[in-house]
């Protein structure tokens, strides 16, 4: 990958090419960014990528640590955060995806050191798909192969036009690859989605199934491919005509290289990992006719990286509990939403993931009862419910790092600008500082049982926020012109 950072016309203008976008799972590596003192201009980035790069020069960036909503010195914030976790009986570490694997690794290390729980964005995303990979196994490939070879793209419960805006143009439908020189005209597109999504508008065949019948439709396709008839109740159950399901089966049989792109449509609906397992079995069966692969459209940035790093460090992809001193894996028991719903965690660390906005209400309510420490770059629901906010560094822009693309290919992202503060160089650096502070506290206490005695106390101490002040500060922030 060639790289180039040059001085532009004005002295403070930086132009950078081949920048890696740290926003969705596609990890596009062809972005051009021009930054000066006040503005950011991007080329090749989609609307979401562009918005993130504009964060480099935004008015709502959090640039100072906050304790209970008030600006505080960095050392106090780290100390307070360390105190919270040293005092907790069941600390929970949520390692979000908008950061590099190097930082994730340290987060997992802290969780292990404290005997806490650790989970990442996969838990509210493609967790069920990951479970299916464990159950059935995945026939996969890289995005390079899909763009150069695939002549059938099946989007199952996926709407990349919204979730991965450059998916269709870079890696599938419109891309003119080595064996796919005709672009859209050389590819067949099938969309399986209860909504007529924007992606469905490009489809040769849209199976508009009833919600929650993915399993039945997948099953019917396998039945046809195995030479049998689907059950007579098929149309009534799924809402799909027999004509359409046979057409879909024919498309699979005719393909030379078919890809099933699975989205959250199968992972977030009833049946979850069973749906995903079935999709993987269908993929295996498709290989009787041509080459067939399945890829998960992983949405959040480095979410695949978390699974890789956790699996590498302790053998499991997500939802891990270290409380017995060894890693135990059990989605539904040690996963974020379940732990919070049961009111188990008594302190939460949330790194680069706006859990306040993205978890169901009953889970967020628990977060309002316990001390919460977050790494955040902007004001928002997560910062609102956090007791300590540590300013986030924009990985891939202000510090280098590794991101796993949605096909599990690690991509290295360079930095091209410095963070707007000097107390930390990267989120990894922040976590190392936090880890060391925790270690010092544990050592000072001789790491005896008394270390956990004050857990409840800390919880109530952390609540002494004047809400008025916090909201006032927010109002001031919001009244400033937004970039």
């Amino acid at each position: 990958m060639s790289s180039e950072a040059q001085e532009g016309q004005t002295s403070n203008k930086i132009t950078c090419t081949d920048v890696t976008c740290p926003v969705c799972g596609l990890t596009c590596d062809d972005i051009e960014v021009e930054v000066d003192d006040v503005s950011v201009v991007t080329r090749n980035a989609c609307i979401m990528g562009d918005a993130k790069f504009k964060e480099l020069r935004s008015s709502h960036r959090i640039t100072a640590p906050l304790i209970n909503g008030k600006e505080a010195p960095w050392s106090d914030a780290i100390d307070k955060a360390a105190e919270i976790f040293v005092n907790a009986k069941r600390p929970f570490f949520f390692i979000g995806s908008e950061t590099a694997t190097e930082a994730m690794s340290v987060g997992i290390e802290i969780a292990e050191m404290l005997g806490g729980l650790v989970d990442g964005n996969a838990t509210i995303c493609h967790g069920p798909t990951v479970m299916a990979i464990q159950d059935v196994g995945q026939v996969g490939c890289t995005l390079g192969e899909t763009r150069n070879r695939a002549d059938l793209d099946i989007y199952w419960g996926a709407n990349p036009e919204d979730s991965h805006p450059r998916h269709l143009s870079r890696h599938s439908v419109f891309q003119r690859g080595f064996f796919t020189g005709q672009g859209r005209f050389g590819r067949q597109i099938m969309v399986v989605d209860p909504r007529r999504s924007t992606t469905a508008e490009h489809a040769d065949l849209h199976l508009q199934l009833k919600p929650g019948t993915d399993f039945e439709v997948l099953n019917a396709l396998m039945t046809i491919l195995n030479g049998f008839e689907p059950h007579e109740s098929f149309t009534e159950v799924t809402g799909i005509s027999r004509e359409d399901i046979y057409k879909a089966a024919d498309m699979i049989k005719d393909a030379r290289f078919g890809v099933i792109w699975v989205g959250l449509g199968i992972a977030s609906t009833r049946g979850k990992h069973y749906n995903a397992s079935m999709a993987m079995r269908l993929t295996q069966l498709g290989n009787k006719y041509g080459k067939f692969v399945i890829l998960a459209n992983r949405g959040h940035c480095n979410v695949a990286g978390f699974n890789e790093v956790l699996a590498w460090q302790c053998g499991f992809p997500y939802a891990v509990d270290f409380s017995t001193g060894e890693p135990r894996y059990q989605p539904g028991e040690y996963s974020t939403v379940d732990v919070l719903r049961r009111g188990e965690a008594d302190a939460l660390f949330c790194m680069c993931a706006d859990l306040g906005a993205h978890l169901p209400k009953r889970a967020v309510e628990r977060m309002c009862e316990i001390p919460v420490v977050s790494i955040e770059t902007a004001e928002g629901p997560q910062a609102f419910i956090s007791d300590v906010v540590l300013p986030g560094v924009l990985d891939g822009m202000e510090c280098e790092g590794t991101f796993y693309r949605m096909d599990n290919v690690p991509c290295y992202a360079r930095s091209f600008i410095d963070p707007p503060f000097d107390f930390t160089k990267s989120n990894e650096d922040t976590l190392i500082q936090l880890r060391d502070a925790i270690k010092r506290k544990l050592a000072a206490r001789g790491k005896t049982t008394e270390t956990v005695e004050g857990a409840a106390e800390t919880g109530s101490k952390a609540t002494t926020l004047s809400e008025e002040e916090y909201v006032q500060r927010l109002d001031t922030l919001l009244s400033q012109p937004q970039s």
Binding site: P194, L340, G380
Partner: protein, 140 residues
Amino acid sequence: MEIILNTGGTAFQGACVKGGRKFTDEYTQEAAYCDINPEDFVALGKPWLVKITNEYGDSVVLQAKKTDRQQKGEIFIPRGPWANIVVTTYTESTGSPAYKNRKVEIEEGSGPVLGPVTLMKKYYSKRTNRTGRTPAEGGA
């Protein structure tokens, strides 16, 4: 009226979140609405606002948007704090909550549609009355 709720990301809502504009009116515009099939829309009395209530009794008021992208009997709310008021924590032992395909009640609503800061204050302002209970003490 009973209806099936699906939630999910949109590029515009995504741009708002990634751009850190989570406490702006733009976020309300991009995430606090509900897509409704034209037939259901008429059946609801062509409402400006709708109130969605889930099985726990939690409810949220949203802008009603008529669209033929939805099938009859289903609604769509973009991912975000509004949708998550009515998303349930039922994970079928996978960790992934019921973001899609869950029955909810829909009816004509009376405003206002809360902005993100007001929404957080209304539903999650427990900062001043936190209990700080640990699980052993029955915290939940």
